[in-house]
Amino acid sequence: MLFNSGAFWSFLAAACCAYYLTPRRFRWVPLLAASYYFYASFRPSILAVLVFLTGFVYLVTRVMQSAHSRTTRRLLLVADVGVPLLALVVFKYVGLIAELLEYLGSPFTRASVGPINVLAPIGISFYTFKLLSYAIDVYHHRIAAERHPGYFALYVSFFPQILAGPIERPGHLLPQLRQSAAFDLSAIWAGVKLAAWGLFKKMVVADRLAYYVGEVFVSPEYKGFHLVLGAWFYYFQIYADFSGYSDISIGISRALGFSPPANFDYPYLSRSVSQFWTRWHITLSTWLRDYLFVPITYAVMRRIDGDTWLGIRTETWGYVVGMSATMLLGGLWHGAAFTFAAWGALHGAFLVCSYVTKKARRLWCRAIGLSRVPRLHHAVSLVVTFQFVTLAWILFRATSFENAWTYVRYMQIRLPAAGRVNLLFGALVVLVLLAAEYVQRHADEVWVVRRVPVEVKAVGYALFAVMLIVFSVDTNNPFIYFRF
């Protein structure tokens, strides 16, 4: 049951009715049942993994909370974090590890383990991170362990979020689950609007762009300038795909009376790569910051005696090691392939370079007079950042390093005639996306949006609904991030 299928919306209507018709105290029951049903609809067997990990973390964390000895708590934390991580590695990375071992052992032995095909449970990367943050937060006394197994199971399996986030923190979602909201028509309307906009982004923008991008990436030879445009369009495709999914997820959560965190903040407007990571997949980047980057950075800094080492400041060492490791692991989190690791490493390199050259860049901008024209400075930063991020997307989208290299190698200024209409259509779709998001961003400032009567707005919504039907791609394409 994908969000962009008719079956899902029938399921959602039934789930919402059951949720609001149940007394508040017991609302977790229909919601948990709906979440498990939704998850099992992909493959019933994967529910067993989810239930096992949920039960394990629930019990171990309860014991950890009541344990007094520091050593016992540590050991329980290791189990609490280790078992979900082990499940993640077994289901997601065992093939990659076998491939790596085979490659490393190839000079010594011809033995081959053959392809290992483990069908990973969908959403495992997302709910594993939820489980980890819960265990770590309880260990550090940031939150208390959840007593109610139903609320905890719902926190892990909440159906709008289980497939691809947003990665909710326990301290944010668990209290909301305990105090379910009253029926509020305006919240439902706001949720429906957001979900409809998410569907538009996915089914019209992302799926239409996928035709052009897929065509360009599948055989990049002799595609000339289409390769440059294809990479730009891929940026918008993956943005529309994933932020569309997030909008649907957030919209459904709002309609059910919850207030989930935002996951995107117009990332294409970033003026630096570090700013990009505060605007792209925000719940993942903040998770990585809090549970990986900060601990690694402090661990590195603690190991260095004094303010400098090898003439470099301790903070710089902390940042460089912390950021490189975090981005590499963040890249690998996206998929069991070396191209993803390279994508993460490349972003890490961008961030480290940006950090190291910050002062020099500021001086250089002042020297050439760019700092005196802030608007131009912003525009230049935006364009440069866009290009860096796009370059990294090529690695992300390519099927292999060879494919990525071929893609970059064949880039040219010449635009072949074939595919120009798809290009124009793609450009039109991107313009519609940008214009709509501009209006959303500046809704209070745009006179037409502010002053228009509700009846006229209704006509606008009607036009939007029909355009969604007509221009959507009717293929039930899965969301890109479901893979991760």
Partner: protein
């Protein structure tokens, strides 16, 4: 004072409710109105996009009509698998291929009548059958060539409903895609030859299969949607039976082939055995027909992703051979075809 403010409050609440109700009504009416506007626009956009190929003229213009002794029919799976260029090179026989997406048994039946009239009766027919053969309907753009209406699923008859654009979504999609293709044709400045297998018989002859294959790194965890075999006669099966009868009466040698499916599709089509049995049953009283199933893991490596356009995709409802798959397929198919022709000639001679 308090009473008057309460009265004002309830009056404004009442006004607000009325405005909301009016807005909902406006929304519903506007949705229906926009739906009809878009649907009509798409309908108007259809004819100039679809009725552009003149089949009769194409057949009349065929050089050396008498030399086309073999006719190849089927859907897009046959279009990608069986190639006149290989047959000509290996067996020295010239063939005409009409297999293409959107052409069901009904289209093939009508086409054969026209082909026989304009080009002449072929000596052999290769018909690519599919798991979904009795489910598909010939599409309207194809039936337009015979001035006929396709059935509802082929886009010939529009479905009714509150929202016409939603009820006829596949037709809307086809219209948009064809409009874009037509625009592309108009936009592209002709720099050399533009390939179009449907328009130019020479392109069809020279085509050797698609050079695409995109491996995916990891499995997307999804369940298969098992697909039962749609039984005979289904949507257009009666036209298939009519063709078989006609070919028996005319003494045309017929080779029914089931081209290989990618393993994912093969797994999804779990009643493959039933399909094979059905095709065998249909030709059991037709001595001029043979049926060969190439979608058999013992014969063809169905798991080889590079042999299929959809290779590596975890979800695929249909599959087509790639250029590399065609080479492998021909290692099986051409010797079988040679044997079939020799056997058929013997049957004709004696």
């Amino acid at each position: 004072m308090r009473t008057s403010s309460r009265a004002t409050g309830s009056a404004s609440a009442g006004t607000s409710r009325r405005r909301t109700a009016l807005a909902v009504l406006v929304f519903v009416l506007a949705v229906v109105a926009f739906d009809r506007i878009f649907f009509t626009a798409l309908q108007l956009a259809q004819p100039p996009v679809d009725r552009r190929s003149e089949l009769r003229k194409k057949l009349e213009g065929l050089p050396d009509k008498r030399q086309h002794r073999m006719l190849i029919l089927g859907t897009s799976r046959t279009f990608e698998a069986v190639h006149p260029a290989y047959i000509a090179r290996e067996l020295g026989i010239r063939s005409y291929k009409e297999a293409f997406q959107g052409k069901g048994p009904r289209y093939n039946y009508e086409f054969y009548q026209l082909y026989e009239r304009v080009v002449g009766r072929p000596k052999w027919v290769i018909y690519g059958v599919d798991y979904f053969l009795f489910e598909i309907t010939s599409e309207q753009w194809a039936m337009d060539r015979f001035n006929m209406r396709a059935d509802a699923r082929g886009g010939g008859q529009m479905r009714g409903g509150v929202l016409l654009t939603l009820a006829n979504k596949p037709t809307d999609d086809r219209t948009i895609v064809r409009a874009l293709e037509a625009l592309q044709e108009r936009m592209v400045v002709p720099s050399g030859h533009q390939f179009d297998a449907e328009k130019n018989p020479a392109d069809m002859d020279a085509y050797l299969g698609p050079d695409v294959y995109q491996p995916t790194r990891r499995e997307i965890p999804v369940t298969f949607d098992p697909k039962p075999f749609p039984p005979f006669p289904g949507a257009e099966g009666r036209y298939f039976a009519r063709l078989l009868e006609q070919w028996r009466a005319e003494g045309v040698g017929v080779m029914l082939i089931y081209t290989p499916d990618y393993v994912r599709v093969h797994e999804r089509n779990y009643e493959h055995g039933k399909a094979v049995a059905c095709f065998r049953r249909l030709i059991q009283n037709h001595p001029n027909c043979v049926f060969i199933d190439y979608c058999d893991p013992r014969k063809f490596p169905l798991y080889r992703a590079s042999f299929f356009e959809e290779g590596g995709r975890p979800i695929a409802v249909n599959s087509h051979l790639s250029k590399y798959g065609v080479v492998e397929f021909n290692r099986l198919f051409i010797p079988d075809l040679r044997r079939f022709i020799q056997g058929s000639e013997q049957r004709v001679d004696y």
